[in-house]
Amino acid sequence: MPQTFAAPADVAVALDRAGYLADTGVATAAFLAMRMGRPLFLEGDPGVGKTSLAQALAVIAEAPLIRLQCYEGIDAGQALYDWDFRRQILHLRAAGDSSDPSQLEASLYERRFLVARPILQALEQSPAVLLIDEIDRADDEFEAFLLEVLDDNAVSIPELGTIRAQTPPLVVLTSNRTREVHDALKRRCLYHWLAHPDFAREVQIVVRHIPAAAERLIRDVAAVVGALRDADLLKPPGVAETIDWTRALDMLGADALTMDAALATIGAAIKYHEDQLRVTRDLLPDLIERLG
């Protein structure tokens, strides 16, 4: 890593410069992950900024962000490496019968015929930040495989040899808790639960993203969203929704949250029909009145 940090506060400053407002918890987690070389396991409601934290970490580490989106049935061929069989066949055809067979066979398994998938890319391009997104969607076979790679920071390819990272990548795993991730994997990681930001921090975050929006509007939206998070909705709005909603209102030229403007743009914040009905009918009038 190009820059070494002496304390979590330095990480917070750097993350701030990268556009991510980190509280002490996030800053300490990032600091320890970098210093101890441990993967960071992030959980939290959708939209609290798990992915954007990984992006900001890539910025402060001055390293590329390599993302692996997990899904059911993902296997080593999609996560690690694969041989480009079509090109190998073409190579074989082009060579014809002319050359020496053993030499031809060796040339079939050169690096240029290897397709690097995200994990191998992260090992090859070190330093790198590897984001393994929604690990809970992959199945447990994949977890076991991941455990092996993370332990060694190396991949052994039978035909080619072992590829080892010069600097181990900074690994960020995220999970939405659709199933329990195996404890053996979690144990190797630093576990951080990302909570929704408090009012003041949320206002700061939105200001950072939409500097042109009226301050009154930002405060109104943050206050209403904060109240909606406690209202037992199917899908409570995250920070991403606060930003989207403020942006939508700002584009319509609003400089404060009014009932009409809120109704016109509610789809930016509330994504379930049942929730929208409840919010627009029962909750919003009261909340907007309280804004004063």
């Binding site: 441990r38 899904y71 055809r93 079939l108 939405n176 576990y191």
Partner: protein, 370 residues
């Protein structure tokens, strides 16, 4: 803080955390020591984060962690860590033994003994578990432990090699490569199968007390068969996840651990609210998706039956099958008339009995066919 001191303090702290149900095992304590070495342990905030990041494993751990952290580091650490046994151990609600008929009188010849024993087992299978003696219940529990409720698989996103199906391009080409680039026979693949998730929601409120123990044993048997794809929750006034506790091999220890984890044993029933908690925290995120959800309850709802109906509709939209096990269904003159049962009925795929071993065997079959 010298390193040795840190180890001693953290070991005690981790022991207190484990007593409170947090997953602070040995490997994690080692990580915590490493983390503290990178930070300033005299700084309260850094101490908090270094230990929280390394000793916790899920959001459920956080409230317990905060409480233990407060008592442990808020004051001076006590000279000796409190032993785990001093934590109040909750016992399982005993199953009410009503009329304890002694199974079979002393018979005259051996043949008779055998015949009566067989007949007893046969009768026992159909008897209501609420009316069994302790010995008979033990026998039924042994039978339930062997039940192994297995669930029908579903097709997964992964594919496996097969004799026929779609052409597996990668393997076909690889084969071709092996034969020096000559096109050979094709290779095929089909979608593989994965176990479908099974979710058991067990009502452990007061009115279900005679059956709760038996249902828990059934759940334990299910978890033992498919530990990775089975989830168990108890519902009463609130929702408690007991999957982790039921993974213990020994049924008695598993049930004891589960009993200790459930704070509202034999409490009131707020099915609608508990179900909403399940759907919000687990179900909607994926636990209930494509799963077979089994809800064991008598449908006595103290709360709002309308809410229960809404949440059942939500559950039915997410789940593959919703099965309601009602222990009273096996009794004569049963009609689903309780408010909760009526609200739930339109959203069920099956309503089955669960009062005897035979009824539970039937539940296992319904699950297997789902």
């Amino acid at each position: 803080m010298a390193n040795l001191d840190a180890v001693a303090v953290l070991t005690g702290f981790a022991r207190a955390l484990r007593a409170a149900g947090v997953a602070a095992d040995r490997a994690r304590v080692t990580t915590a020591v490493e983390a503290l070495a990178e930070l300033d342990p005299r700084n309260g905030e850094q101490l908090y984060w270094a230990t929280r990041l390394t000793l916790c494993a899920e959001p459920d751990d956080l409230p317990a962690f905060d409480a233990v952290f407060g008592t442990w580091f808020g004051r001076r650490p006590p000279p000796l860590p409190r032993p785990a046994a001093s934590a109040p151990q909750r016992r399982l609600a005993p199953v009410r033994g009503l009329t304890a008929e002694v199974a079979g009188d002393a018979a005259d010849d051996e043949d008779d003994v055998l015949r009566t024993a067989a007949a007893d087992a046969e009768i026992l299978r159909h008897r209501d578990v609420a009316g069994l003696s302790a010995a008979e219940r033990d026998e039924v529990h042994r039978m339930i432990a062997l039940l192994a409720p297995r669930i029908a698989p579903r097709r997964s996103g992964r594919s496996t090699r097969a004799r026929r199906g779609r052409v597996d391009v990668r393997r076909s080409v690889r084969q071709m490569l092996r034969e020096g680039g000559e096109p050979g026979s094709l290779r095929y693949a089909r979608r593989s199968e994965r176990p479908r998730r099974l979710v058991l929601l067990l009502d452990v409120s007061g009115s279900m007390a005679p059956y709760a123990d038996t249902m828990l044993r059934f759940a334990h048997a299910a978890v033992r068969v498919r530990p990775a794809s089975t989830e168990v929750f108890t519902i009463s006034t609130r929702l408690t996840r007991i999957t982790r506790q039921l993974r213990l091999r020994n049924p008695e220890r598993a049930l004891q651990a589960a009993g200790a984890a459930v704070p509202d044993w034999s409490g009131g029933t707020r099915l609608g609210e508990a179900l909403r908690a399940f759907l919000d925290l687990w179900g909607q995120r994926g636990t209930a998706r494509q799963a077979v959800v089994v809800l064991a309850s008598d449908g006595w709802e103290r709360g709002d039956a309308g809410l229960l109906g809404e949440q059942m509709a939500r559950l039915a939209r997410l789940a593959h099958r919703v099965v309601w096990v009602n222990p009273h269904k096996g009794k004569d003159g049963f009609a689903p008339v309780t408010a909760g049962m009526l609200a739930a009925l339109p959203h069920l795929d099956a309503l089955v009995a669960g009062h005897s071993f035979e009824a539970l065997r039937n539940v296992a079959e319904v699950i297997a066919r789902a």
